[in-house]
């Protein structure tokens, strides 16, 4: 037993914790939780807690179902929303097979592997997501339009608004769980909010995103409202993206920074972007994994639907943000395709892999796009060599299927499961009769 574990056990004793939730994530990015009593925890540290992997999306098939959840004591947190005493706490887990080796189906392991590969090249991967989501009135029923909690616009301060209280409560709770929140404001649509998580290494960020989504939902419930990370709930308003700033560090220094280069962007930075662009279509099924995701991507406005990059171009897929003089460490690129409902572990893993590929194979960065891509005609885009991202989940699956990069990064098991699951989702969707069809066809045809 090491000190971290002792610390956890002691805290449980002192704070009268009655349940400990062991958290992990399935392949689709849903948080899973196994509750154990404190008495079982010592055993869980030593050997892990056994569970039936076949019950979890994408983990295992029936006959090889035994898996172990091994709590990571460094992630121990008392959960603030269950009342003070007796309390509940949580720890993230690594998933292992009965012989102790990491389970290939564990998204956390997929990301760890990708980070390991970056480390072999001498890089650490940092990310900083801006997470958007909607606050809605409770009591939504299928077929009805969801009701936003307010009607404010971008950067509006809503006096005594529900959203305001909500944000204060959410930030307090997040901070009490050790998650630093950088900035929050009201986004462009009614009921829409954005909270930025502070820069951290990609694994911590992914853990934090999982915690964040849970906290937000929990706080919303406490306040009698409802939070959703659905990418595009309203056709007429912008969707919820998760623009993510990222950079590679080489030891202590930012590998994207080079004094005097255009936008202070180093060769490594340019190659990284080139990798994102060249493999952007292949990884879209992972970064934008739902049928609904493509309605955000292709919904116009600021959503990026083409493989382009630019400096301060809000229609570009990859944006190189304004450079802040004398802040070499802040050099970064922003990927704008991701949405808030992705599996952050898998998404970060494939993004990193695409960027590293650009570095390893020395990709040439194509010309910057300065125009608003949505303002160009189709022929203009063709002439400029601007390729579109997949238009539907179906197209995204088809491109991903042929991707060695994604297969390598996810591992064959997750790759295969993911594709099968997404094909099934597409088939289900195709079988639906939508309000659009009823509205347009039923009366006239």
């Amino acid at each position: 037993m090491d000190r971290q574990q002792e610390f956890v056990l002691r805290t449980i004793e002192e704070r009268d914790i009655r349940f400990v939730r062991l958290w992990f994530t399935d392949v689709l990015g849903t948080l899973k939780s196994v509750a154990v009593a404190p008495a079982e925890l010592e055993g869980a540290f030593a050997e892990g807690i056994g569970f039936d992997g076949s019950a979890i999306e994408g983990f295992a098939r029936v006959y090889e179902a035994d898996m172990l959840a091994k709590p990571d004591p460094a992630t121990f947190q008392v959960l603030p929303w269950r009342g003070e005493s007796p309390g509940t706490a949580r720890m993230f887990c690594d998933i292992a097979l009965p012989d102790g080796t990491p389970a290939k189906a564990d998204p956390r392991h997929v990301l760890q592997r990708a980070l390991g590969k970056a480390a072999d090249l001498g890089f650490t991967f940092y990310t900083h997501p801006e997470i958007e989501f909607f606050l809605l009135e409770q009591g939504f029923r299928p077929g009805e339009r969801p009701e936003p909690v307010d009607n404010a616009g971008y950067f509006d301060h809503v006096p005594h608004g529900t959203g305001h209280d909500f944000r204060r409560a959410a930030i307090t709770m997040l901070e009490s769980m050790g998650i630093s929140v950088e900035f929050s404001h009201h986004e462009g649509a009614p009921g829409q909010n954005e909270i930025d998580l502070r820069y951290a290494d990609a694994l911590s960020t992914a853990d934090n995103i999982m915690t964040f989504r849970t906290v937000i939902k929990e706080v919303a419930l406490e306040q009698g409202i409802f939070a959703s990370f659905m990418p595009k709930p309203f056709a007429e308003f912008p969707g919820s993206g998760m623009h993510t700033h990222m950079s590679l560090f080489d030891g202590e220094s930012n590998a994207f920074y080079e004094a005097g280069a255009p936008y202070q962007l180093s060769k490594v930075g340019r190659q990284f972007i080139a990798g994102l662009l060249r493999h952007g279509a292949e990884i879209t099924a992972v970064t934008n994994q739902w049928v609904n995701s493509y309605k955000r991507l292709w919904g116009g406005g600021e959503a990026p639907a083409h493989l382009t990059w630019g400096h301060n171009n809000r229609s570009a897929m990859v944006r190189v943000p304004m450079y802040k003089p004398a802040k070499g460490q802040s050099s970064r690129v922003e990927l704008r395709t991701l949405d808030s409902a992705c599996n952050p572990y898998l998404a970060f893993a494939v993004i990193l892999a695409a960027g590293l590929k650009g570095i390893e194979e020395d990709y040439e960065l194509p010309a910057e796009t300065e125009d608003d891509v949505w303002g160009l005609t189709g022929s203009e885009r063709r002439a400029m060599g601007i390729e579109p991202l997949p238009a539907t989940l179906h197209e995204a699956i088809a491109v991903m299927e042929r991707s060695e990069l994604v297969a390598d990064t996810l591992g064959e098991h997750v790759f295969d499961f993911f594709l099968r699951n997404k094909r099934a989702e597409w088939d289900d969707y195709r079988g639906e009769i939508t309000p659009f069809e009823l509205k347009r066809y039923l009366p006239g045809l």
Binding site: Y63, K104, R402, A407, H413, D416
Partner: protein
């Protein structure tokens, strides 16, 4: 010319000068005036004789001349100064004129190291450091070096450090080079060098503090020596391994303090490793710190402890074994050591300890650039690193329970291991001697130019110097190489000596005179070496070595080595158990013992095979005498079909009863299977070779058994059969691509003899076939060989055997496309040859249809395949990893190839083959398949076939899917030539290849674009 001169030259040559004429000239040099006495030759105690005692008299003489020139040139200036009131020259001349320790030391240094000679020439005033050298305490050395950098005189601090360092080195070398037994004083020399490094680090810290100024006061910094520095067993020139620990000084902010400490450490490293006009000390290497080069250079004690508690790998604990305070804040260093040292001794109980250790062992053994392998003193099997590593490993394993084993110094630890009985006394003594010898060689090689090298020199003069330095006089260059190779051979058996022999001593209870490994320690050791059931292993060892029989005696000598071979493989326990069984069966036979003892590689091959392959072990346990193939010359080349058939027929002929006859033939098969398995496991057969060999055995057995069956049926019918029979191989048998787990797919054909009635012929043919199947299906000595005739017309509902005419009329009326497709791989394998020819004439037009296939037939094949994919896969099987029927599996590839064959064989003769790979190649050559597609298919088919074979070899029974159990996957991976421990990659590897093949199948078989 004086008459004495020729004899003078001869004298010098006799004294050991290689270039006597030049030596004579140099001896007459003005610089040596007053040193050479005309009476030297008479008394044999003059300068030439003293020079002759050095490692390299020519070098010593030349250097001496240079030194004296330098001294004389300096003399006038020096005499005026206050620095050397007594006068250097007179003292030095006096020392050199008279025989004695002073002269010997000076000449020894000059004759062993050009680098130190250069130093003396540049700093002649340091000569007394040589002549008056004595063993100094660490503190004295620290005082000397820190004093030098505090008052550097006219030099920079960096230069002063370098000069003072070399000055100390003079004394160490002087004592080392003139000791009576260099190997005996080796530990003292290594200790002195470590102390000197410690002093240099302390002095470098003084420099660093001065450079940094006040900021340095915000932190406390301790330097921890690691590696050979930490172990106080340093080389003359080597990286100095350190770890830095820092804490804020009282009242200082932690962030500021750590930044200051980092700067301090950086300056310290630079002070040692920067190259100046006065040379360089050595690189300071801080890569052993937590997180290696990625990690912060300095950490606090708490941060170190947190790292070791949570993240550290086994090798990092092994490195910590040597941690020792060497410079800076001693109190802080003590806190650090108190915090982390206890963790070292828990390392052996951590998860993955065994796997880590094995991976580390492999790294030690493999990490040698091939070009240098035979000159390496340090790396590679039996190198110095291997000795150090092995000793440390035993310390980690046994040091938890026994704290007498916790020394950081290799030789001390080795001694403690011997005292505690963990290693045999004699073995420890022999290893101790070899280690000292190799280290001494290393020291002398490095000393020559003060270069960091671990390679034996190759040039004769270098070898000669090395040999003479160790005291060899005649043919020193040959003698030193002989001695080196002899010692290296000893050390190469280190694992046997250190790891395994003590285990034998523990169980065999032989000599009681010395301490032995206790039972608990023996179990720990076996577990650390990879045995999963140490208690079982000890029982087997006891059984194998107890008693006074000759067998037990031989095995007691053999087993220490064999245990190492078992431990190298995936299933050491299985290997040891199988060996015990074989040995119990054969133990008293003469040839078996001789085989093990004398055949050299036979015992090694046996051990590896048994611990690698359950299949081979099972074959051998059933028929131990097959072990003989290991000792036969060319014993592993598979026997050709005719040869096997002859042996089987002969064996069968010796038995009257048909069952016993076929059993005899099957014994031959078992023997041959063992041979093939061993050849496969040792890499002497590739997939194609294995396929052919297994096909030959199968064919020979079917042929021999058919013969027996025919005779038996003939006898029961009065002597003559009314029909002749033919067995046609189908599937992989027809394609000569049989695997270890394959059934024999066949069709039976007969043709009534002239005059025989058809009914009678058919009845007798059926009787023969049924008898054949019965004989082969019964329990036998060899692995089961299933005879599968399901590919016959009408499948299971059709008659088991048909006449050629019946085939003809059936195919004329009914033939289905899938039946024609199956015929693509039809090849007569046993029975009537002429009938075989005519059968092929009958089926050729079916399988290679004249105009290829029509669209309807192509569609039919595709539909059938699609339905098979949905229905044929066994219920529990995973379509992603099932070798035969999974997506991208064997069947996928074969059907794609067969579709091409049926469509185009009429126009492309090369496609008319039963072999999948040959047909695939023919399709590429004829541009019917895209080469890249064909490569994906070939790769997937080959991988699936190899993996299936390897799985059978490992598990000893047929295997249908990629093993999901990691231990099995590891064993299978090793057989396939993957690195040990890569079992987890196996399924990924298979699925990647299968996925690509499946994409090709979608395009080329199903014609999806």
């Amino acid at each position: 010319m004086s008459p004495r001169q020729p004899s003078r030259t001869a004298t010098l040559a006799r004294l050991g000068f290689a270039e006597a004429a030049r030596a004579e000239q140099l001896l007459g040099d003005r610089a040596l005036a007053g040193l050479v006495d005309p009476f030297d030759d008479e008394f044999s105690d003059g300068l030439p004789d003293a020079l002759g005692d050095t490692a390299d008299p020519d070098l010593a003489l030349l250097s001496l001349v240079r030194l004296m020139e330098s001294v004389r040139a300096d003399e006038p200036r020096r005499r005026d100064s206050e620095a050397d009131p007594e006068g250097s020259l007179s003292g030095l001349v006096a020392a050199l004129r008279h025989a004695g320790a002073a002269r010997d030391r000076l000449l020894a240094v000059l004759g062993a190291s050009t680098a130190l000679a250069d130093h003396l020439v540049a700093h002649p005033e340091h000569w007394r450091d040589v002549t008056e050298a004595r063993t100094l305490t660490t503190q004295e050395r620290v005082d000397h070096l820190t004093g030098a950098v505090r008052e550097p005189g006219g030099l920079t601090a960096y230069d002063a450090l370098r000069v003072a360092y070399r000055r100390e080195l003079l004394g160490i070398a002087a004592i080392d080079l003139t000791s009576d037994g260099p190997t005996a004083t080796l530990p003292d020399t290594a200790e002195a060098l470590a102390d000197l490094a410690e002093a240099a680090l302390e002095a470098a810290l003084v420099i660093a503090r001065a450079e940094l100024g006040e900021k340095a006061d915000t932190c406390r910094l301790a330097v921890i020596g690691m590696g050979k520095t930490g172990g106080r067993e340093l080389n003359y020139v080597s990286d100095v391994d350190v770890i830095f620990v820092a804490e804020p000084a009282d009242g200082a902010d932690e962030t500021t303090a750590l930044a200051a400490a980092t700067a301090l450490a950086t300056h310290l490293m630079r002070a040692c490793s920067t190259s100046t006009a006065h040379g360089v000390l050595w690189p300071v290497d801080a890569a052993l710190r937590p997180e290696g080069k990625q990690g912060p250079l300095v950490r606090t004690v708490a941060s170190h402890r947190a790292y070791y508690e949570r993240w550290a790998k086994t090798w990092e604990f092994q490195a910590l074994l040597k941690a020792r305070a060497v410079a800076g804040d001693r109190q802080l260093a003590r806190e650090y050591l108190d915090a982390v040292s206890p963790l070292v001794w828990q390392a052996a109980s951590r998860e993955n300890f065994v796997e880590d250790v094995q991976a580390m062992r492999r790294r030690v053994e493999q990490h040698v650039p091939p070009a240098e392998a035979d000159r390496q003193l340090k790396l590679g099997p039996g190198g110095l690193r291997d000795v150090e590593f092995s000793v440390q490993l035993l310390q980690l394993v046994h040091g938890r329970a026994d704290d007498s084993l916790r020394s950081g110094t290799t030789l001390e630890a080795l001694d403690a291991l011997a005292v505690g009985g963990y290693v045999g006394r004699d073995d420890a003594a022999a290893l101790d001697e070899s280690y000292r010898f190799l280290r001494t060689l290393e020291h002398r090689i490095q000393l020559f130019r003060l270069r960091r090298t671990h390679l034996m020199p190759t040039a004769d003069p270098d070898l000669r110097r090395l040999g003479r330095g160790l005291g060899y006089r005649s043919e020193a260059e040959v003698e030193v190489v002989t001695r080196w190779q002899q010692q290296a051979r000893e050390v190469r058996r280190i694992h046997e000596r250190l790891f395994y022999r003590p285990l034998l001593a523990a169980v065999a209870r032989l000599s009681t005179s010395e301490a032995r490994l206790g039972p608990e320690a023996a179990r720990e050791r076996l577990a650390a070496l990879g045995f999963r059931d140490p208690a079982g292993a000890i029982r087997h060892l006891e059984a194998l070595t107890s008693g006074v029989s000759r067998r037990a005696a031989i095995q007691r000598t053999l087993l220490p080595v064999m245990l190492g071979w078992f431990a190298d493989e995936a299933d050491p326990d299985g290997g040891l158990l199988a060996f015990r069984k074989v040995s119990e069966d054969l133990g008293s036979t003469h040839w078996y013992l001789r085989l093990l003892r004398d055949e050299g590689s036979a015992a090694e091959r046996l051990a590896h095979t048994l611990a690698r392959s359950r299949y081979a072990a099972d074959l051998l346990m059933g028929a131990p005498e097959a072990v003989a193939v290991l000792g036969e010359s060319a014993g592993l080349a598979p026997r050709p079909r005719e040869d096997l058939l002859r042996r089987m027929t002969a064996a069968a002929a010796r038995k009257d009863d048909p069952e016993r006859a076929v059993q005899a033939a099957r014994s031959v098969r078992r023997h041959e299977l063992f041979r093939i398995a061993v050849a496969d496991l040792t890499g002497q057969l590739d997939l194609r070779g294995v396929g052919h060999a297994l096909t030959d055995v199968t064919e020979a057995l079917v042929e021999a058994s058919l013969d027996v069956a025919q005779r038996a049926v003939a006898e029961s019918h009065g002597g003559e059969l009314a029909t002749s029979l033919l067995v046609v191989g189908m599937g992989r048998l027809g394609g000569a691509e049989v695997g270890y787990g394959s059934d024999a797919d066949v069709m039976f054909v007969h043709e009534p003899r002239a005059g025989a009635s058809e009914e009678e012929a058919q009845a007798q043919a059926l009787e023969v076939v049924q008898e054949l199947r019965r004989l082969l299906a019964s329990q036998g000595p060899d692995p089961h060989l299933g005879i599968d005739a399901d590919l016959r017309p009408e499948g299971k509902s059709g008659p088991l055997v048909r006449s050629l005419d019946s085939y003809r009329s059936y195919y004329a009326r009914w033939s289905l496309t899938w039946e024609s497709q199956a015929l693509l791989r039809a090849r007569p394998i046993a029975g009537d040859e002429d009938l075989g020819r005519r059968f092929l004439e009958l089926v050729d037009p079916l399988r290679w249809p004249e105009k290829g296939l029509g669209p309807r037939e192509v569609r039919e094949i595709r539909r059938l395949k699609a339905r098979m994919e949905a229905e044929r896969l066994p219920r529990a099987a995973d379509p992603k990893t099932h070798f035969k029927l999974g997506r991208g599996g064997l069947s996928d590839v074969e059907w794609t190839v067969q579709l091409v064959q049926m469509c185009h064989a009429h126009e492309v003769p090369a496609l008319r083959t039963t072999s999948t790979l040959e047909a695939l190649q023919a399709a590429v050559d004829a541009e019917l398949l895209d080469p890249a597609h064909a490569e994906d298919l070939r790769a997937a088919w080959t991988l699936a076939s190899r993996m299936r074979n390897a799985s059978v070899l490992f598990r000893g029974r047929p295997v249908d899917s990629v093993p999901s159990d990691l231990r099995v996957a590891d064993g299978v991976g090793r057989i396939m030539g993957m690195d040990p421990g890569s079992g987890a990659e196996l399924a990924d590897l298979y699925r990647r290849f299968a996925r690509r093949a499946r994409a090709v199948v979608e395009m080329d078989f199903y014609d999806a674009s």
